[in-house]
């Protein structure tokens, strides 16, 4: 019973918050605590099930949802090691963000609606990770997409409707991915006759081409949801929503749904080298691309958004080389430090009365100490500073990448390492610009202040997790058999790892130590460079910016990918739809209306036959008689 409760509790919370919103007035203040309690209870259930989890998964088999011919889809939830881990992250980080939101949204009129959406999100995300068959997973998939849309566009009146447009962009990009996902599901059902994950995992073999196609289609869905090339363009624009939303949805949970799905279906991906190669390549490419864009962004949230895209690329890189447990490990640590960074940014924005441009900040460590320290810790985690959680997980990924095939593995590792350098650089560029140097604003006018306890306490908790969360995945180099997470996730990923033949550990412990050292050096160098160059504000580098003009413009313009899409895809599409609309209006409607009009005209004409004049009628008869007589005569003449 606890298992469905994880899903239902946030749903109930959402309903209550919705009612509070409808009621209006002071009742809305209750929404935050109620929503947070719902998530707290869901977390409690998750923890209870987690502790109780033994060898086999905990399954809840509910009612039959769809039963049509061969298609039989029950409402079935599975709590195994993988989904349980994800559920903990979702409810745990979710709880912290709910609490934080109570403070962040305290002055907002629509806060009850906000908490309803947030709870609904938790509901959908839980359904996603706990679903035992793909349709249920997809329901959750769509649900989080819908909630993302609603929350991105939460302040839909601001900025001439920009948040609404951003929400639409997110939804449409997701939709494109979902099309691939759905087709993949169809193909899956056609091949295996079922959509139950465990059933397919038990017997996952099929024709190689079909498997590759299914994996690629499912991965298209993942690129949409998890913001990879080519569908990542929505994530930076999604920053139009409230910052806690960015933290929860676009850092910790929703965007990781793609990673979860790929890991869940590892037994399929493992069968296709092509699919794995695609996943890894796209992951690596996305990581590098996003990191380059983040180098020059001014808006705090935009830097963090591109950073998220980049880190998600790492996770897919891991999936692509068969290191699914490393990917999930990184999901966990990333949830910690990225949520922390976002919430910290929210704290900064809140303290500076909605200023988001880091070029206009500076020296905030004086006024916001807690925020500063926690943000710093998050930044260290993101950059991969030794012994932080990020260091453990990122290093694991890079190590597994090197252990992959010969040239490809090295190349991918190179990209990953370069990206790590850039990551460290831009992270501490941000830290320096925001918290160090002289304030580039007027302190008298802005009155920056620390955020209330309700916001700083979650920051602290997350900072602790970001610092020590890495200890769940200690590599064998440091301590034998201490890699808890890899061991924990063995069972659900067993099918995949058994099939996968791509990993060739080609270097032993010395190799691992060497690469670990390289990663650490990269991190430290990046941090130092970023910090040093920007410590005294952005003007110092104005000269450099000018000299690197074109490159800078390219990066600032996000490689003009949005513009390319507009030109080559959206433009023609708009033309096509205009043509279709014209066709529909003039041809289709024209035909239909034309039929009506011609009937009308015909009937008008026929009506004129009945002129009312008897002699006209008689004339017609006479004419007819003439024709008849002629006809008879002709006939007789022919026969005679």
């Amino acid at each position: 019973m606890l298992l469905p409760a994880i899903i239902l509790l946030p749903l109930v919370g959402a309903v209550i918050c919705g009612l509070l919103h409808a009621r209006g007035g002071d009742a809305r203040k209750l929404a935050g605590p109620i929503a947070s309690s719902a998530v707290l209870l869901a977390l409690a259930c998750s923890v209870a099930l987690f502790l109780r989890l033994g060898e086999s998964a905990i399954v809840y088999d509910g009612f039959t949802w769809i039963s049509a011919g061969n298609l039989h889809i029950p409402f079935k939830l599975t709590f195994d090691q993988l989904s349980g881990f994800m559920a903990l992250i979702v409810t745990g980080v979710g709880l912290l963000i709910h609490v934080y939101s109570i403070g962040y949204m305290a002055h907002d009129e629509g806060k009850a609606k906000y908490f309803a959406y947030l709870n609904l999100f938790i509901f959908a995300m839980s359904l996603l990770v706990l679903g035992a068959n793909l349709p249920l997973l997809f329901v959750g998939w769509e649900g989080v997409g819908a909630m993302s849309y609603l929350l991105i566009g939460f302040w839909y009146d601001k900025d001439e409707g920009w948040p609404a447009k951003a929400g639409q962009k997110a939804f449409i990009a997701n939709r494109i991915g979902d099309a691939g996902f759905v087709i993949g599901m169809f193909l899956l059902f056609k091949t295996f006759g079922t959509l139950d994950i465990a059933t397919i995992a038990a017997n996952p073999t099929a024709a190689a081409g079909t498997i590759t196609l299914i994996c690629l289609l499912l991965f298209v869905g993942a690129t949409g949801k998890s913001a990879q090339i080519p569908l990542f363009v929505w994530l930076p624009d999604a920053m139009a929503g409230p910052t806690p939303v960015s933290a929860l949805i676009h850092a910790a949970t929703m965007v990781t749904a793609g990673v979860y799905m790929v890991s869940r279906m590892s037994f399929l991906f493992a069968q296709s080298a092509v699919a794995m190669a695609v996943v890894a390549t796209i992951g690596a490419a996305t990581a590098l691309l996003a990191a380059t864009i983040a180098l020059v962004q001014r808006d705090i949230k935009k830097v963090l958004a591109y950073s998220t895209v980049s880190q998600l690329g790492y996770m897919f890189l891991a999936c692509g080389v068969g290191a699914w447990s490393a990917a999930i490990f990184h999901v966990g640590t990333h949830a910690f430090f990225k949520a922390l960074l976002f919430l910290g940014a929210g704290s900064v924005i809140h303290g500076l009365h909605d200023e988001q441009d880091s070029f206009k900040m500076g020296g905030l460590k004086k006024w916001m100490p807690t925020t500063f320290v926690t943000f710093l810790i998050g930044g260290l985690g993101l950059a991969g500073f030794p012994l932080t959680s990020g260091w453990f997980s990122k290093d694991e990924i890079l190590w597994k990448t090197v252990n992959f095939g010969q040239t490809a593995g090295h190349l991918l590792w190179g990209i990953g390492a370069l990206t790590a350098l850039l990551t460290a650089f831009y992270t501490f560029r941000l830290v320096a610009l925001t918290f160090f140097g002289e304030p580039r604003f007027d302190p008298e006018k802005m009155h920056p202040h620390e955020s209330p306890k309700v916001m700083t306490v979650p920051l602290v908790i997350l900072a602790v997790l970001a610092l020590f969360g890495g200890w769940m995945g200690i590599p064998p180099v440091i301590a034998e058999n201490a890699n808890w997470i890899e061991h924990w996730l063995e069972a659900p990923l067993a099918a995949g790892t058994a099939i996968w033949t791509g990993t060739h550990p080609h270097a032993g412990h010395q190799g691992e130590v060497m690469f670990m050292t390289i990663s650490s050096v990269i991190a430290v160098v990046g941090i130092a460079a970023g910090f040093a160059l920007y410590r005294r504000g952005p003007e110092r580098l104005a000269g450099l910016t000018r000299r690197l003009g074109p490159a800078h413009a390219l990066l600032l313009g996000k490689w003009f990918i949005d513009e390319l899409y507009e030109l080559f895809i959206l433009g023609p599409l708009a033309l096509l739809s205009k043509a279709a609309a014209w066709f529909d209006l003039h041809v289709v409607d024209g035909v239909v209306n034309g039929i009506g009009r011609s009937c009308r005209r015909l009937s008008d004409l026929s009506g004129r036959l009945q002129s009312g004049h008897l002699q006209h009628y008689a004339l017609w008869m006479a004419g007819g008689t003439t024709v008849l007589i002629t006809w008879v005569i002709i006939q007789a003449w022919f026969q005679g």
Binding site: H613, L619, A622, I633
Partner: protein, 215 residues
């Protein structure tokens, strides 16, 4: 000899018929129509149907045309207005001419045939004149005869009903019309004759006593 008379009568019929069709004054048309009937009666006589010739004169010329003339005099009809020529007036002669031409081409054996066609004298004896006709009418064609008499009855009723002046509608019809037309009822029936006439308030002695009349 008979042939000559036939041609004279035929020419006469055609001339009279043309007058009927082309003259403006309806009275003149009526008289010419009588002429046609006379000529035709003569022809019937020539070809051996004396009874029918008599019938033609009695019924057509004697009854029907009298009726026509009565109506013309009753309604005091004057000269007909000429028509501006729409398509109809031009097409009609075309159709008429075409039909005649066609029929003539079909029937047009104007040559003398070798068959022996009966004459007036033979007609008297062959079908036994009126006697043969009467026997056939009441035996073989009895159904047609009875149907025709029924038709005559209905015709009489219809004529009486149609031509009656509508002061006195039936009682039921009165009530219905009164109910429908109450606000505009002026009780004035004689000046504006219309098919649905205004019912007058005066009671109708013919209709009121439906129950008391029968005994």
């Amino acid at each position: 000899m008979a042939v000559v008379i036939f041609f004279i009568l035929a020419a006469g019929a055609l001339v009279f018929a043309a007058n009927v069709v082309f003259r403006r004054n309806p009275a003149i048309c009526a008289v010419n129509l009588v002429g046609v009937f006379f000529c035709l009666a003569g022809i019937y006589l020539l070809i051996g149907f004396p009874f029918l010739a008599a019938l033609q004169l009695m019924v057509y010329a004697g009854a029907i045309m009298v009726l026509f003339v009565f109506v013309i005099m009753l309604l005091d009809l004057r000269q007909e207005e000429p028509r501006d020529t729409p398509m109809a007036t031009m097409l009609a002669p075309l159709f008429a001419a075409v039909i005649v031409a066609l029929l003539v081409t079909v029937l047009g054996d104007i040559k003398v045939s070798t068959r022996n066609l009966p004459t007036r004298a033979m007609g008297q004896t062959a079908a036994e004149g009126g006697k043969g006709l009467a026997t056939a009418l009441f035996s073989k064609n009895l159904l047609a005869f009875e149907a025709t008499s029924l038709l005559l009855l209905v015709g009489i009723l219809g004529v009486v009903l149609l031509a009656k002046r509508r002061h006195r509608a039936s009682e039921n019809l009165d009530a219905v019309l009164a109910a429908a037309k109450r606000p505009s009822d002026t009780g004035d029936a004689s000046t504006a004759p219309s098919v649905i006439a205004e019912p007058t308030p005066e009671p109708d002695p013919d209709v009121v006593t439906t129950g008391g009349g029968t005994a």
